[in-house]
Symmetry: none
Subunit: 121 residues, 4 copies
Amino acid sequence: MGWKLDSDRPIHVQLLELLKTGIVSGEYEPGSKIPSVRELAAEAGVNPNTMQRAFGELERLELIKTERTTGRFVTDDEKLIGLIRDDMAKGVLNDFVRDMKRLGFSNESILAFVKAGLEEE
Amino acid sequence: MGWKLDSDRPIHVQLLELLKTGIVSGEYEPGSKIPSVRELAAEAGVNPNTMQRAFGELERLELIKTERTTGRFVTDDEKLIGLIRDDMAKGVLNDFVRDMKRLGFSNESILAFVKAGLEEE
Amino acid sequence: MGWKLDSDRPIHVQLLELLKTGIVSGEYEPGSKIPSVRELAAEAGVNPNTMQRAFGELERLELIKTERTTGRFVTDDEKLIGLIRDDMAKGVLNDFVRDMKRLGFSNESILAFVKAGLEEE
Amino acid sequence: MGWKLDSDRPIHVQLLELLKTGIVSGEYEPGSKIPSVRELAAEAGVNPNTMQRAFGELERLELIKTERTTGRFVTDDEKLIGLIRDDMAKGVLNDFVRDMKRLGFSNESILAFVKAGLEEE
DNA sequence: GTGGTCTAGACCACA
DNA sequence: GTGGTCTAGACCACA
């Protein structure tokens, strides 16, 4: 997990973003145990309270479940994970399309450009 | 021209980006006159020196030509404009692909996702 | 380093010229550290910003490399240094030949004159 | 005659330089009549007094002679003209050699460089 | 009016 | 300490 934080947006929002990405990308597998708040806070170099806040938001999204005494676990509801993944992807896609249109690209040329770019790799 | 600046990256870099976008998107037409440094600086809410710096960089890219006492003009080299447009687009695409892969998308699924997203509009 | 500046040409251009000369002549050795902007600015009696601008241009020529927080270093690409030295020499030669021709000298007489002048020393 | 003047050195010195060059280069032929002060002053865009001063210095060098009622004439002493020409050339050469040495050139390499440069034309 | 230059001085990140 | 950025404001040449 790369904990690259900037000073622009609230830290807890950035942590949430990173944790969500970790889960939807499969880095933290469905049903698996997540490291403790203290541990992750130390890793990311933030105050445990801030990391705790990000976890609270993760929990509200039902991406993690807390089981007293044993710790926190990634949800095993893979459908939910998929939905959130698609939601995040939609955000990324929207930004991408917006930027391409600013550069004067049409829908068709965007698609062609992506196709060409992916084949090229 | 929307002059949305953040405090993250140097302002002159952001101004350069916006001006480049304005040119490659055709908002500033090839061969046309560009508003004066003072005018644009006031519009963007920055110091004229900072805007001037962005212009210096634009000029090094040969996207504009300066005529003392009359002002600055967008290059009429449309081929060059096209090249730079493609270059910027490549940057945008790379960021997009990188973010999508972080979310666990494969090349194929990225393409499908883009396709679906564009048709949906 | 003699910092003789006139009021004829932009100071930053003159500084660039002097720094380039310092590098191609070997006064600043390949790979060696260059004094800080503030130091050189004080030495030359100019504003640090102006010296910084000259450095920016030096860097664009790739004659120096900047390492944040440690300082700037002369490139160790001796081939490049040689190329730029020859380039500057060509400029000096052209001016010389132009002036001699204005005085009515032919190519042959210029060569003879240089030869005589150099032997004389 | 190109009357390019800068604001750095005294105007009359620059005028003298230009007139001397005109004579030693043969543009103003030995023994020929020179245009009037008024005329030349107008051409160069300077005050006639300033041009007059330059002429006074030219006269002191005996490069021109004034004949009352008929006007001013370039000297017909071609030997003198030659001496002054060489004197000016020496100045030009000295500056050239100084600049080349600053660039790290030795006497031998200067000569070779001049030779190569002249042949190349 | 236009662009170009320069200074003085503040403030930032990084190590 | 290092380099990098930005502002405010003055002044210049040119047409």
